[in-house]
Amino acid sequence: MAENKLILSGDEAVAHAAFDCAVRTGVGYPGTPSTEILETLSAIGGNAEWAPNEKVALEVGAGTALAGARSIVTMKHVGVNVAADPLFTLTYTGVTGGMILVSADDPGMASSQNEQDNRNYAKFAQMPMLEPSDSQEAYDFTIRAYEISEKFHQPVLLRMTTRVCHSRGIVNRWKAAEQPAVPAFTPNVKERVMVPANAKPAHVRLVQKMNDLAVWNDGSEGLNRIGGAAEAELGIITSGVAYYHSLEAAPEAKVLKLGMTWPLPAKLIKDFAATVKKVVVVEEGTRFLEENIRLLGVDVMPKAEIFEFGELSVSRVKKLLANDSEPEAAAAPGRPPALCPGCPHRKTFELLRDLNCIVAGDIGCYTLGVLPPFNAMHYSLCMGASIGMALGMRRAFDEETSRRVVSVIGDSTFMHSGITGIVEMVYNRPATGHLVFILDNSTTAMTGFQEHAATGRNMKLEDAPRIVLEDLCKSLGVDNVDVIDPVTENEKYAELVKTRLASNDVSVIIVRRPCILEMKKLAKKGGAK
């Protein structure tokens, strides 16, 4: 094979490997830092699509793998929470075709609402996990993950972090592209239909597979390696980008770099620990490796609590190794993001501020309504939560306060998980009614302008069937569904909101005006309408 070197981000490297593995289905929901995987896969000619949310994405990816072809399912860390229901039983059924779930974690919360450590999902759902540390490994490990998935018939968690997803490096694209396999339907009800009688033996098989995987990992080649100094008193066990920080922070140490971090290679770890005087685990987030290595009977120095927060860096690894738990100087505050000048969302937040509304917000650009000069958001939790939270508040506050409560959700987030909130609003309507704003800028703006089911375009910007938000809300039995342009109909907008807040109706106002940056994107690609 001819050597083919490219500069790729970790996300792009995963996409190139998925393409070279002839993935039949690439599916996910946009979320920083995972988004570029499917965008790249689509751009280089692979099969990629945006699903309405991560649960559906995982189900589609599972279906392809159950049918016997390869799939890759991508999402940010919090997306795995949404996809957890199918995931936790998919590990019972196993798969026929290779399947990868990419979880892109965000230690330090560069653009997320929490910094949950999804390595814990590998243990909880019982699936093998690979952790690449740079772009080359992102490429190599994606290929290895299909090999493991097909050998053990298990979905594999490819766990990445912001610094691996968004760092660029040299990648040798060594694998010649394969032709996709065409599966035939073979019924296997005992392993594929999880009723209790079938799930009980499936659970036993799953535990056996994980035991087998642990043994396999001990003898695996090219996933785990020992580097750093040949002889040393200090032994570091690490994974992901923390490996590279460790090499620079402690050139005197011997380093065991784990590429497959679940199930752990017990013998390799114990043998390594026996060659050094002291073992320190260098890891971001929770004490996943530290605690599980201690369970193997290896004495590991506990890291100070401050290292459970944020990203690691060369400087922080030096501090961690020195067992220095002194608080760190706060990083200089950068310039905060803000709603763009000319952003159509501005009109809504000016109005909500002036009307003294209590705003349950959601996840997207419009979360920036929390900042001055608007200060017009009081709650924000997760994708889709604005509607349910607000309905609960209207049950708690007195009548006058309840009438000030509104939900604000974007078009893509509404498609993701807002629809069931509307069902709740109609079915269990509060005495004071409720008002939901769908801020429809016709794109998933915050993550970089991805299409979704209500934009009328697919990932390649071709025309696609469009879910009509107003028709959908009307069909669910919402009393009043209005569509308004916040800029050209601004005066009418204010009057409408006042009327709806005063009534006991359940109402939706679709505030429709395209994102100015999305319009530029479409104009550039010649797809503007």
């Binding site: 070197k5 500069i7 920083t32 830092p33 560069a110 653009s111 740079d134 912001t162 610094r163 968004h166 760092s167 660029r168 490096g169 040299i170 980008v241 590279y244 920080h245 090499l247 620079e248 860096s313 060369v314 400087s315 990083a331 200089a332 505050p333 950068g334 310039r335 905060p336 993001p337 803000a338 709603l339 763009c340 650009c365 920036l368 915050m446 993550t447 970089g448 940056l517």
Partner: protein, 158 residues
């Protein structure tokens, strides 16, 4: 830069100033010079006018994709107010490239990022043709030619 020493270039500015583009171009330039190279950046919410920084590290072998504290050799300060934000990465020898280092007509222009790469190349001394190729790969038509002029004028300014 092939003597084992890693060269660390930090780019800092705000969303929309071409930080990512300029740092990608330097990454590609170092790659074509035969170096190992890694680049790291933080984006996401930065699209909304927030701070953006990008680290480019190149040399014989690069480990961490992030520049360690106090080890920036060069800082491309496309937005001067970001120098303070990145202060922890600078040392007394860090060469800071600011808007006053580029010809006046490019200050606060859309070509500021490319002009600053021109200044950086006074120190790196990569072949001019390499940069011209990269500019033509990143921009088209007259925009490419204007950026080539900006790069050359900034390179020759002192």
């Amino acid at each position: 830069m092939k003597n084992g020493k890693v060269t660390n270039v930090m780019f800092a500015g705000i969303g929309g100033q071409g930080i990512i583009r300029a740092s990608d171009m330097l990454t590609e330039a170092a790659f074509r010079m035969g170096c190992d190279v890694k680049k790291s950046e933080l984006h996401g919410m930065s699209q909304r006018g927030g701070s953006v920084s990008s680290d480019v590290r190149f040399g014989e072998k690069v480990a961490s994709p992030m520049i360690p504290a106090g080890e920036a050799d060069y800082m491309i300060a496309v937005s001067a107010d970001q120098i303070e934000v990145c202060a922890a990465f600078l040392n007394e020898n860090t060469v800071i490239i600011r808007d006053e280092d580029i010809p006046e007509e490019y200050r606060a222009s859309r070509m500021m990022n490319i002009a600053m790469l021109g200044v950086l190349n006074r120190y790196l001394a990569f072949p001019e043709g390499l940069w011209i190729d990269l500019i033509r790969e990143n921009f088209s038509g007259t925009v490419a030619e204007e950026n080539i002029t900006a790069f050359r004028r900034a390179f020759e300014a002192k």
